[in-house]
Amino acid sequence: MDYVIEMLNIRKEFPGIVANDNITLQLKQGEIHALLGENGAGKSTLMNVLFGLYQPEQGEIRVRGKKVDITNPNIANDLGIGMVHQHFMLVDTFTVTENIILGREPKSGATVDIKKAEKEISDISEKYGLRVDPSAKISDISVGMQQRVEILKTLYRGAEILIFDEPTAVLTPQEIKELIQIMKTLIKEGKSIILITHKLKEIMEVCDNVTVIRKGKGIGTVSVSDTNPNHLASLMVGREVTFKTEKIPASPKEVVLEVRDLQVKDSRNVPVVKGLNLDLKAGEILGIAGVDGNGQSELIEAITGLMKADSGSIKLNGKEILNMKPRKIYEAGVGHIPQDRHKHGLVLDFPIGENIVLQNYYKKPYSNKGILSYKNIYNHARKIIAEFDVRTPSEYTLARSLSGGNQQKAIIGREVDKDPDLLIAAQPTRGLDVGAIEFIHRRLIEQRDNGKAVLLLSFELDEILNVSDRIAVIYEGQIVAIVDPKETTEQELGLLMAGSKGKGTGETSHV
């Protein structure tokens, strides 16, 4: 068998940690090869080595059988290796074309020949079905479109081997479908692909082989046809993992959250929540399903007071909280696991211990008459860290140096510990591995079982279907349907989310 890429016994160290310890990965011509591993297992590092961003301490790389030395991305490009990074590498203020040609600009005289570039780009995008508007600015296009630009960047450079680092984590179900289609076209055109993803279902659907790494060590490569999701998960984590979250039926009680006729404009002053109604009872988890950009973020920010609503009413336990200050809303009994943990959830340059009192630092016993008690703060932090299994060298470690999963656990610990009547969880498992996801789901259900209301926002239909007791479908700023997870399918949800009126178990205006 011909391998296009062979990474043999790769070792890469960072100060104090071995990110890749003797890992081998072999990619065949024309296959989609999955790279699977927990958060921080070393997947991105391995791919960055292949792409020339890092130099390995040990091991060798062969491209089409020939030993190569990839000391910078230019060499990778020349060898036909292209990478679509986990975090997009796009210049927001540039146009699609400018982003794609950057570094390889066609010239006429001294100037960049934009016309020629645009022509070339539309040729490629036609060939692979990658629809883009070459003259649009990156900041104006959707995430899915941005990802297509990333792919085009590699193709424009004539990449034969494409690396996708967690490409689906940021996409809506529709966009994921399109992406999978694109990958299949690429393979048909003779390209080879390495795909990093935490979503076992995707691996089963599109991949040929899977290489599993755990804590920096290679566990081995298996053929997809010889395996199943449970097996993969246990390979990755090193123990058995359950997928279907166990839970007893919900027993909803009185209404905790009541949203009526809510109108919210987004930061660009465009109405995005347009007369939304919603009821949430104690002792239930309400999942909100919807394609990104239909007003779900603004809904949550309006409930938590982070964004001003134009009109309507939000009642918590019967008390109006519309447009109150965030602090007042928390004090009224709301917990909030924010969508973007780095942006909103943590002060990365504070110790993790101080992050745990981020909303409570001014209250007793953490502070008394305006003077902080570090003793009480850190005692509390230690408790949360132990209880929620936050893996950190100490409570004095800066939040920045924790891995994403552990940062998220700390946030969840903080929010759950406040014992809020309403817990809002926005994408609580985004980018996390299966082990961490399982842990977080259990915690959300525990909350419900203790008689609290949980509002879950997620773009992962699996998660919505698994965890929620009821599902509200949001479309263009309104709840268009309420469905029972036990009586619906992904197909039906997908249709509702796309705006087609479904059968729906609740009325559409009052939920």
Partner: protein, 319 residues
């Protein structure tokens, strides 16, 4: 004084004041567009002023009328040379860019005065004999009215500065080099993955800023102060930086802002004898440019977007 007469005084003076600011803020554009804050423009102007004056004094006999131009080149080289310090500290050594810029400012003043005392044995240089002097722009000054206002009794550097602004605009927005420079200032890691050498681009940006600020200082010293002392450059670099921000990091915007500052400055001096202004206490005219800048930043260009990566050192592999 008639209105036209007023303009014939005001405009050449405006342009003269503006030209060092234009050059320097163009330099700032190179540095900041590449992602490196350059608050050291002031110091780099000091270096440019010092070296062009010293060269001018020493070689006026050799170069004759071409002396100020040759001296400008010397100022440009010296500015570029000193700016390497800023580049090394803030790009390679990951120093806080603002702090490194402040250090450049202190160093420039200390070093040049030290050298002046060492070379001349006193606190300031002699006055140069071959500075930029008044000219009528050939042909153009013959245009009625316009020619009198814009092209008579004026100096060459303002016109060179304006041409330079257009040139920089062209380089920055039309050439591959410009695209790469800006990409490094917006998203260095993206640029890196596209095979662009971020460090090199930033060094080029900073060194160009030194070169332009050196020219700015040289222009100031040779067309306005005529000698070099501790007071020669006192705040012009900061004004150039303000012009850059005022102009939204755009070469032509910076030029416009610099001309505006020059205008406000001239007005504050000349204004006292204009009928419209003579009753206004001079302090209002003196603070006008600064107040106007603040108002402008607050009002209609409050959302000027700095290059996204401005101020952050690029560390390979960090997110």
């Amino acid at each position: 004084m008639g209105f036209i007469d007023i303009l014939t005084i005001l405009i050449p003076s405006t342009l003269l004041w503006a030209s060092p600011l234009i050059f320097t803020s163009l330099g700032g554009a190179f540095s900041e567009r590449s992602g490196v804050v350059n608050i050291g423009l002031e110091g780099l102007m000091v270096i440019g002023a010092f070296s062009s004056i010293v060269f001018n004094l020493a070689f006026a006999d050799t170069f004759g009328a071409a002396t100020p131009w040759v001296s400008l080149l010397v100022g440009m080289l010296a500015g570029a040379l000193i700016s390497i310090l800023h580049a090394v500290a803030s790009i390679s050594f990951r120093a806080d860019q603002t702090v490194s810029g402040v250090a450049i400012n202190l160093l420039a003043v200390g070093l040049t005065l030290f050298l002046v005392k060492r070379i001349y044995g006193k606190g300031q240089t002699d006055i140069i004999s071959e500075g930029f002097s008044k000219i009528d722009v050939p042909v153009l000054h013959k245009i009625p009215v316009i020619g009198d206002i814009f092209f008579s009794n004026t100096y060459w550097p303002p016109f060179v500065a304006i041409i330079a602004a257009f040139l920089v605009w062209f380089i920055m927005f039309k050439t591959p080099f410009g695209l790469r420079l800006r990409s490094v200032g917006e998203h260095p890691m993206a640029a890196d993955t596209m095979g662009i050498n971020v460090t090199r681009m930033r060094y080029i940006g900073v060194i160009l800023s030194g070169a332009f600020a050196g020219i700015g200082g040289g222009v100031y010293a040779q067309s306005i102060s005529s000698d070099f002392s501790h007071a020669t450059i006192s705040g012009q670099g900061f004004m150039a930086l303000a012009a850059l921000i005022f102009g939204k990091w755009h070469p032509l915007g910076a030029m416009g802002a610099a001309i505006f500052f020059g205008f406000a400055q001239s007005l504050s001096i000349i204004g006292s004898s204009l009928p419209l202004f003579e009753n206004i206490p001079s302090v209002y005219l003196l603070i006008a440019p600064y107040v106007l800048t603040i108002l402008a930043l607050t009002g209609f260009i409050g959302r000027a977007d700095a290059p996204k990566a401005l101020g952050t050192p690029y560390i390979k592999g960090s997110r």
